[in-house]
């Protein structure tokens, strides 16, 4: 059976801090969710209207 080198690395200390600050984290989580929602709204606006046609008609010749 193969020998596997086990390397345990310390998790970054940053992680512990986050766990302690639970309220701040959820507030930050809310903000992130809002930002993501705004982004998705924006993407709904700019995404090519006929996705199927857009994807199907995108044909390239191989390169390199």
């Amino acid at each position: 059976m193969a020998e596997r080198e086990q390397k345990k690395r310390q998790a970054p200390t940053r992680k512990e801090e986050v766990v302690e600050e639970a309220p701040a984290q959820s507030a930050q989580g809310e903000k992130l969710k809002e930002e993501l929602d705004e982004l998705l709204d924006e993407i709904d606006e700019v995404l090519e209207t006929n996705a199927e046609d857009f994807v199907r008609s995108y044909i390239q010749k191989g390169g390199e």
Binding site: K7, R9, P12, I43, E48, V55, G63, E64
Partner: protein, 498 residues
């Protein structure tokens, strides 16, 4: 001590003319480049004399493997930033100027995206109503056709090619965990969206060999093209075809920065005698890693042991740290080298703890987050064309259309410095000489190539200035010369080229 890892990236962009009954990608690409050049500067033709892409690093020439004359009738321009902008096969291609370190290359790679975007704008003025050109910095059309993003690194010719190929392969197979640009689905034969809904790399589906000369079929992990564009007795230009096209600056920075360090270690024979990371099946491992978003897949090594891609990258980082302590990192830029090491470590740590925490740093994570959020919101299946459209539009170079441009991605270079890099050459390589000459005397330059400039002073014969040393012709070398010379004739006289 390894030589300076002068580096560059060549990108073939995807291109589509929409709203036309029929379109030819070569014509559209030509239109794009001509429109840019017409808007900005006088075109200087490329000189093909020293091009020989059929030459093989393993020591045998394949006559006519890819005859350069196929390309000679196509549009070909050299820009004042020292880059080459041309039509390659059926794609517009931008080759950055030679850069002395990874951070500088991030800047010139990003400048290429801006040049393509401006080209689209310029070309649009020549289109009929209802037509538009889309340009994409990605690597596949999602139908099995792939086009490349190639890196180049300067290596001492004395290093045996077999050693490079063997020792760099584990890195090339595993680096995709931070260089991957992400892809919805798979283009490998027989793979469905159920088996591979999303994968890390754009390119993993297309590699079939371990080592070889080809770039368009039977693509190899290590490419053997041997065309140094520099003194062939001293240098090798290591041509890397396995990278994804990156938009995320951190991905590009790590791709080039880490690879430069790994190549420096190979050049200094630092890895010989260290733990042998040779994989039993590199090609199969490449896909296995790309399909495994949890980064947990184990790879079998030639010695029978197993490792994950992350563990292999940790192993390389450990060796790089020891190398840096012992030999220093001057060859990749001391400051940039130290920064690359620390970012590399931070990235591996974050990938280990929670890869999604890198959504503002790495392309594949950013795209994955976007695709999954959009999918959740609209309750879409993985094979919904909207997700494929999202994948494609992530790479659009037009800022108004680009989905990448809407993400809060970390920048490593200022937009101002990127705009400058569209027209100003890097200062620390021979690209400076090329770029400055083009800025001042384009009308007297008959042709340009990576390793020479040909002047036409209106009298016979044409005069060729060889540039066989990638680190000569820098601002430190030639600024005084440029100050003293008013005309190209004076420059040639001062250079002793009679």
């Amino acid at each position: 001590m390894a030589i300076t890892k002068v580096c560059g990236i060549e990108t073939e962009f995807g291109i589509a003319l929409r709203g036309a009954d029929e379109s030819n990608p070569i014509t559209t690409s030509s239109l794009l480049i001509n429109a840019y050049v017409a808007r900005l500067q006088r075109k200087v033709g490329w000189d093909f004399e020293d091009e020989s892409p059929g030459r093989d690093a393993r020591g045998f020439a394949r006559e006519g493997a890819m005859a350069p004359e196929i390309e000679t009738h196509l549009v070909n321009a050299v820009l004042t930033n020292g880059a080459r902008y041309y039509v390659d096969h059926a794609h517009p291609e931008y080759s950055t100027p030679e850069c002395a370190d990874a951070l500088e290359l991030v800047r010139f790679d990003k400048a290429g995206e801006r040049i393509l975007a401006l080209s689209v704008e310029a070309a649009s003025e020549m289109l009929l109503p209802g037509q538009e050109i889309g340009v994409y910095k990605n690597n596949s059309d999602r139908k099995g056709n792939s086009y490349g993003t190639h890196e180049n690194y300067l290596i001492d010719r004395a290093v045996p090619f077999a050693r490079i190929a063997q020792q760099v392969t584990p890195h090339f197979v595993t680096r995709q965990i931070y260089t991957g640009a992400g892809k919805v689905g798979s283009e490998a034969p027989g793979m469905s969206s159920t088996e591979v809904p999303f994968q890390i790399s754009q390119r993993a589906d297309f590699f079939e060999e371990e080592v070889g000369l080809e770039t368009t079929l039977k693509r190899p992990i290590v490419n053997t093209r041997d065309e140094p564009h520099a003194d062939p007795q001293k240098y090798r230009r290591f041509h890397v075809i396995i990278g994804d096209a990156n938009l995320a600056e951190v991905s590009t920075y790590l791709k080039v920065g880490v690879t430069s360090i790994v190549l420096a270690m190979i050049e200094d024979n630092w890895l010989t005698g260290a733990r042998d990371l040779t994989l039993e099946a590199p090609v199969a491992s490449l896909r296995r890693i790309s399909y495994d978003l949890d980064l947990a897949a184990t790879l079998v090594l030639a010695d029978g042991s197993t490792m994950t891609a992350l563990e292999m990258q940790w192993e390389l980082l450990d060796m790089a740290r020891k190398y840096a302590n012992d030999r220093g990192l001057e060859c990749v830029g001391a400051e940039v080298g130290a920064d690359v090491l620390s970012r590399w470590e931070h990235t591996l740590t974050a990938l280990e703890v929670d890869s999604m925490s890198l959504s503002t740093q790495l392309d594949w994570v950013a795209k994955r987050k976007l695709v999954e959020a959009y999918r959740d919101r609209h309750g879409l299946g993985w094979n919904d064309p909207k997700l494929a459209a999202l994948d494609l539009q992530y790479h659009d170079v037009r800022q108004g259309r680009s989905l990448f441009a809407r993400l809060p991605m970390e920048r490593l270079v200022s937009e101002e410095s990127v705009v400058e890099a569209m027209t100003e050459p890097p200062r620390d390589t021979r690209a400076y000489f090329r770029g400055r000459c083009l800025q001042r005397w384009a009308s007297s330059i008959a042709a340009a190539n990576w390793d020479s400039l040909v002047f036409d002073l209106g009298e016979d014969p044409l005069r060729r200035v060889p540039m066989m040393e990638p680190l000569r012709g820098t601002s430190a070398h030639v600024d005084t010369l440029f100050q003293e010379c008013e005309t190209p004739g004076e420059l040639l006289e001062a250079l002793g080229s009679t």
